[in-house]
C-alpha cells in the first residue's frame, strides 16, 4: 500500500472537491432552476433559497405551456419518446451490423480491409452540415425525409463507426489461439463467433453500445433538418421553449433534467464498462 500523509490526503480531497464542484455546478444549477418559476430564476442577485414549484414539470408532462401570451401546446413527452425510440433502434441496428463487421475486420485481413474500415471511420470526420444538404435532397426524392427509417439510417453515421472501431479493438484483444482451440475442438466458425468471441468481447460491445446511445441521444442537427415536429427528439424539441413571449428557463431546465436522466442513469450504471471500453478502443483502435 502506498503511504500518504494527512496533509496530502487533505489537499487531494480539496482538489477533488474543486473539480467536482466545477463540473457539477451547471447540472446542479439547472436542477435547481427546474423547480423555479421564470421570475425567481431571473431575479438579481440569484438566490439559493426559493420556494420550489413543480409547475415546470407539470407543464411538460401535460403538454400545456402557460406563457404571458397565453397557453401553448408543446410535444415534449412525444419528443422524449422519439428520442428513446430513435436512439434505441439506431443502436440496435448498429450493433446488428457493426459487431459482425468488427469481427470480420479484426480476424480477416483481406485486401483493402484497412481502407474500408478507415472509410467507415471517416464518416465521423465529415461535418454533419456538409452531409446534410445533399442528404436532404436525396431523402426527399426517396421519400425518406421525415420518417423514422430515414432518421435511423442517418443515425448510423453516428453509431456504426463508433461501434465498429471500439468492438474491433476488443475482438483483436482476444488471443486467436482461444478461437483456434474451439474450432479444433470441432466447432464451426459461427459457433466460435457466438460462443467464444461474442461473450469475451461482451464488455466492449456494451461500452460501445452505450457510447453510441449517448451520441445518438445528443444528436441535434440531423433531426433538426430531416424531421418535422412529430418525429423530433428532445434535443430539437427544446427549441419550442424559446417562445414569442420570452425564453422559458424553468421549462427548459426541467426538460434538460428529464432528457439527461436516461443517459445519466445508463452511464452511471455502466460506468466501469464505459471507461474500459474507451481506453481499450483508444489503445487498440
Amino acid at each position: 500500500m502506498e503511504h500518504t500523509s494527512l496533509l496530502e490526503r487533505i489537499l487531494r480531497g480539496i482538489a477533488l472537491t474543486l473539480v467536482v464542484i466545477f463540473f457539477m455546478f451547471p447540472i446542479v444549477w439547472i436542477f435547481m432552476m427546474s423547480f423555479q418559476t421564470n421570475e425567481t430564476i431571473l431575479r438579481i442577485p440569484p438566490q439559493l433559497i426559493f420556494e420550489p414549484t413543480l409547475a415546470n414539470y407539470t407543464a411538460l408532462i401535460t403538454g400545456k405551456l402557460m406563457t404571458a401570451a397565453g397557453t401553448l401546446d408543446i410535444a415534449f413527452m412525444r419528443n422524449l419518446g422519439n428520442s428513446v425510440f430513435l436512439s434505441v433502434t439506431s443502436v440496435a441496428v448498429s450493433l446488428l451490423l457493426g459487431v459482425p463487421a468488427a469481427y470480420a475486420f479484426a480476424r480477416h485481413k483481406f485486401r483493402g480491409s484497412e481502407d474500408i474500415a478507415f472509410t467507415l471511420l471517416s464518416f465521423k470526420f465529415a461535418p454533419a452540415l456538409l452531409v446534410l444538404l445533399p442528404l436532404t435532397l436525396y431523402f426527399q426524392k426517396l421519400g425518406l425525409a421525415n420518417t423514422y427509417i430515414g432518421l435511423i439510417w442517418v443515425y448510423q453515421l453516428i453509431c456504426l463507426p463508433l461501434i465498429l472501431w471500439i468492438v474491433r479493438g476488443y475482438f483483436e484483444d482476444i488471443p486467436a489461439d482461444i478461437e483456434y482451440a474451439y474450432r479444433i475442438g470441432g466447432h464451426s466458425w459461427f459457433a466460435t463467433f457466438r460462443k467464444i468471441a461474442l461473450p469475451l468481447a461482451g464488455p466492449g460491445i456494451a461500452a460501445a453500445g452505450l457510447l453510441a446511445f449517448i451520441f445518438a441521444w445528443n444528436n441535434f442537427v440531423f433531426a433538426l433538418v430531416l424531421a418535422s415536429a412529430d418525429k423530433q427528439p428532445v434535443t430539437v424539441g427544446a427549441l419550442a421553449f424559446i417562445t414569442s413571449s420570452g425564453i422559458q428557463y424553468g421549462q427548459i431546465s426541467a426538460a434538460i433534467v428529464l432528457s439527461i436522466t436516461p443517459t445519466l442513469a445508463l452511464a452511471l450504471y455502466a460506468q466501469r464498462y464505459l471507461v474500459e471500453g474507451l481506453s481499450l478502443g483508444a489503445v487498440k483502435g
Partner: protein, 372 residues
C-alpha cells in the same frame, strides 16, 4: 489410424519463408518431437496440421486422407497450446467438455468423459473453477485434458510444459510418455527443451529456419548430431567445441589437444589436414593421473556440484576452457593442476566452415550424392 504425412509444405508470411519445402511422415502411434529454437517454424507447422492456417504450397495427409483444404473442425485432431488458450468465461469442466459438445454427445457421456480425463490428470477437484482461479499447472492440465478428451487419433502438443514451473515440468515429463502411450494416439510434440525432447520422442525432428535439419531417434541425435548447432542444443552441460586440425600417423587419425595426440576412432580420412572442430561431451572426459598416455594437463578453474553430477570448468595450457562432467561421488579434482583424458570413441568431428559433422556414414553418403 492416424498417420500424418506432410508433403513439400511451404508457408510464407509476406516475404519471409517460415516453412521451406518441408516434408515429414509420422507413423501411426508414434510420438514425434519437433525441436528447435523459437522462430524455427514449429508452431506454424503444428497449426498447419491443425488446420487453423493454410499452407501456401504442399499437401497434408492425416490417416491417409488429404486434409489440406479441410476446415479445422473436421480434421479430428486434438491440440494443446503453449499459452493454454483456455476459454476464460467457462469453467474448467466446460472447457474440457467443448470437444465432446461438438460431437453432440449426451450430457451423461460428456460428464463421464470429462470426469475420467480429469481424474487421469488429477484436476477432478477444480473442475468447477474458472481458468482465472487455476494455478498454471492446473491450467496446463486442463488444456491437456481438453485436447485428450475426445480421444483424437492425432494429438498436437505445442510446448505444453513451457509455462509451468520446473517441478511440475519434471513430473509431467515423467507422466506424459505413459499417458500418451496409453492413448495410442499419434503425437506431434513441440518443445524447446532438449530433455523433454529426449524423454518423450520416439523420434526427434530438429528444426531451424523452417527446415528440418535432422530427423532421428533421440539416441541418434545425441550420438550423431548432423552439425555443430544440433550438438550444442542437445546436452547439458553443453558440448565442448575446440578448433583442431586432424593429422595422420601410423596409429591412425589424431588431433592435437595441448600438444597431446588424441587418436580418434571413426572414419575421418576426409578430415585430415582440414580445419575442423572437435566436439567433446563433458561426460566423455574424465580426470586421470599424470603419466597415463593421452593425459592432458589442465588447471581446475571452478567446480559446480549438481545433485546427480559434478561439473568442473578446467583450462588447458593453451588457455581454452573445457567442461568436464562426472557422476556425483566419483573421484575428481576440485582445484589446482589436474589431468584429463578424452574418450576418442565418443568424440565428434565437425567441419569448421560448414559446421556439418564429418564421418557419419549418412552425411558422407549425402555429400557424395550431391557431388555426383
Amino acid at each position: 489410424m492416424a498417420s500424418l504425412e506432410l508433403k513439400n509444405i511451404v508457408k510464407r508470411y509476406k516475404s519471409q519463408t517460415v516453412l521451406d519445402n518441408l516434408s515429414l511422415t509420422v507413423a501411426d502411434g508414434e510420438t514425434l518431437v519437433l525441436f528447435g529454437p523459437s522462430g524455427a517454424g514449429k508452431t506454424v507447422l503444428l497449426r498447419l496440421v491443425a488446420g487453423v492456417i493454410d499452407p501456401d504450397e504442399g499437401k497434408i495427409f492425416i490417416g491417409g486422407d488429404d486434409m489440406t483444404d479441410v476446415d479445422a473442425e473436421f480434421r479430428g485432431v486434438g491440440m494443446a497450446f503453449q499459452n493454454f488458450a483456455l476459454f476464460p468465461h467457462m469453467s474448467a469442466f466446460d472447457n474440457i467438455a467443448t470437444p465432446l459438445e461438438a460431437k453432440r454427445s449426451s450430457q451423461g457421456a460428456i460428464k463421464a468423459g470429462v470426469e475420467s480425463v480429469a481424474k487421469l490428470l488429477k484436476i477432478a477437484h477444480v473442475l468447477s473453477h474458472k481458468p482465472r482461479a487455476l494455478s498454471n499447472g492446473q491450467k496446463q492440465r486442463t488444456a491437456l485434458a481438453r485436447a485428450l478428451v475426445g480421444s483424437p487419433p492425432l494429438l498436437l502438443l505445442d510446448d505444453p510444459l513451457r509455462n509451468v514451473d520446473a517441478k511440475l515440468r519434471f513430473e509431467m515429463r515423467l507422466e506424459l510418455p505413459r499417458l500418451l502411450a496409453d492413448r495410442g494416439a499419434t503425437v506431434v510434440y513441440v518443445t524447446q527443451d532438449y530433455k523433454e525432447a529426449m524423454a518423450l520422442g520416439d523420434r526427434i525432428a530438429v528444426m531451424s529456419q523452417g527446415v528440418i535439419r535432422q530427423l532421428g531417434t533421440p539416441e541418434q541425435i545425441y550420438r550423431e548430431p548432423a552439425n555443430i548447432e544440433i550438438a550444442r542444443l542437445f546436452g547439458d552441460p553443453t558440448i565442448n567445441l575446440l578448433d583442431v586440425k586432424p593429422a595422420r600417423d601410423t596409429r591412425g587419425i589424431y588431433v592435437g589437444l595441448s600438444n597431446v595426440q588424441v587418436h580418434l576412432a571413426g572414419a575421418y580420412e576426409t578430415a585430415v589436414g582440414r580445419d575442423c572442430v572437435i566436439g567433446l561431451r563433458p561426460e566423455a572426459l574424465s580426470f586421470v593421473e599424470e603419466g597415463i598416455p593421452g593425459a592432458i594437463p589442465v588447471t581446475v578453474e571452478a567446480e559446480t556440484p549438481l545433485n546427480e553430477k559434478i561439473v568442473t570448468l578446467v583450462r588447458t595450457v593453451r588457455g581454452r576452457e573445457i567442461l568436464v562432467s562426472r557422476p556425483a561421488g566419483t573421484l575428481g579434482r576440485s582445484e589446482g593442476k589436474a589431468h584429463i583424458a578424452v574418450d576418442g570413441k565418443s568424440a565428434l568431428l565437425f567441419d569448421h566452415a560448414s559446421g556439418d559433422r564429418i564421418g557419419s556414414k549418412n552425411v558422407v553418403a549425402l555429400r557424395n550424392g550431391e557431388a555426383a
